[in-house]
């Protein structure tokens, strides 16, 4: 359900930036979504399809880049990608709560004219 609100916020920011650049149409909207962001790409796509007609992105393609969840292991002084979202270092098997990537929810770029 909250993917709708998030997509509305994304479309609003996108419209602002598009107008500020002197353009009137969005052709491609690229989002970057972390595995731990709490949003589901399929639900974002659904929200986009439902909301786009009223926006500058009516003709746009939505692209979603998923970012893996990456933690920092202090003992090994190394990053590791979490497998199945179990935050265990594959080298020393200690759990880590130090998340370095994977929570973001970003408007990455727009293709406009």
């Amino acid at each position: 359900m909250h993917e709708f609100g998030i997509m509305e916020a994304a479309l609003e920011t996108a419209a602002q930036k598009t107008r500020a650049a002197g353009a009137t149409q969005i052709h491609r909207l690229k989002l970057r979504v972390g595995k731990l962001s709490g949003v589901v790409p399929e639900a974002l796509q659904f929200a986009f399809d439902a909301l786009k007609d009223k926006s500058l992105a009516a003709q746009a393609v939505l692209e979603i880049e998923e970012v893996p969840a990456v933690c920092w292991c202090a003992d090994c002084a190394a990053e590791f990608e979490t497998a199945d979202l179990k935050y265990e270092c594959p080298r020393c098997h200690q759990p880590s709560g130090d998340l370095r990537r994977g929570k973001q929810m970003e408007l990455a770029s727009l293709e406009i004219s």
Partner: protein
């Protein structure tokens, strides 16, 4: 202004003998971007043009957070709370895990130790607020309508109805939902995720974003563990795996088991000035 990062445009700079007409940024996700500024045009910087529709398309690289507005509001809340030395909890769980019962018990136990107030969010009704008011603590109900989570702006509005200077502890009882509230920082110091024994042992594994963000995980309704065939060891193992940072409490609001330790923890946190 640089369209890649929104920074103001620096002039060329020098490292040792080397002149550099470029700068680097580290994005929030750790990606390092290096780019030069000399080719910035007013509208086509960093972009490229296609002409397949007979007019130019160009790319705007934004890399801007979608929930920036909420995050900013949350930081404002956090700053205000810190300035008042007010301890703020954001309590989340699935519906029916026992948030209101635990909080009612907690408020009663903390009487004379901490001055408390509650902000409680639900889609509709003020039933929870009425239950919490029986403790004598000030309670503000937020009815979110159809919204499945509280946002920082709502909390900022709700605290206007409270005398924050007369408080030590503000507890925000979020909407019963283990998904969406994970994405919305409210400006709390401590995020408390509750999980009742009747929900099984694998809740933490099923809702990773929420559990990973927890500062405290509380297992509720422990008096019902036997009836629910609850495997305590497995549940604790799953919690440690999903919430490596979290402090774990186990309690029963009905029997009062574990409530003392929980309240002592809150008093200690407040005393430590969090």
């Amino acid at each position: 202004m640089c369209q890649e990062c929104g920074c103001s445009q620096p002039g060329p700079y020098q490292v040792g003998d080397r002149k550099i007409d470029a700068h680097t940024h580290t994005l929030p996700d750790g990606t390092v971007i290096t780019h030069s500024h000399h080719d910035h045009g007013p509208s086509h910087a960093h972009g490229h043009e296609h002409h397949h529709h007979g007019h130019a398309h160009h790319i705007l690289n934004l890399n801007t957070g979608i929930l920036n507005a909420n995050d900013r509001a949350a930081e404002q809340n956090r700053g205000a709370f810190k300035a008042l030395n007010l301890l703020v909890l954001n309590v989340v769980s699935s519906p029916g895990a026992g948030k209101t019962t635990l909080l009612t018990k907690t408020l009663n136990e903390l009487k004379g130790r901490l001055r408390c107030a509650v902000i409680v969010g639900d889609l509709a009704t003020d039933n929870d607020a009425a239950r919490l008011r029986t403790t004598g603590a000030p309670v503000v109900q937020i009815a979110t309508g159809t919204l499945c989570h509280l946002e920082a702006g709502m909390v900022a509005e709700a605290v206007k109805q409270l005398d924050l200077r007369a408080l030590d502890l503000l507890i925000i009882e979020n909407v019963g939902n283990l998904v969406c509230p994970a994405s919305f920082d409210l400006g709390e110091a401590v995020r408390v995720v509750l999980h009742s024994v009747t929900e099984g042992e694998d809740k933490p594994l099923k809702y990773p974003p929420m559990f990973h963000s927890a500062d405290v995980v509380g297992v509720t309704k422990t008096d019902m563990a036997a009836a629910a065939d609850f495997d305590r060891e497995l549940a604790l193992k799953n919690i440690r795996q999903a919430s490596p940072r979290a402090k774990i409490f186990e309690f029963s609001a009905r029997t009062g088991d574990g409530i003392q330790a929980w309240c002592d923890y809150l008093v200690a946190l407040k005393t430590a000035g969090r």
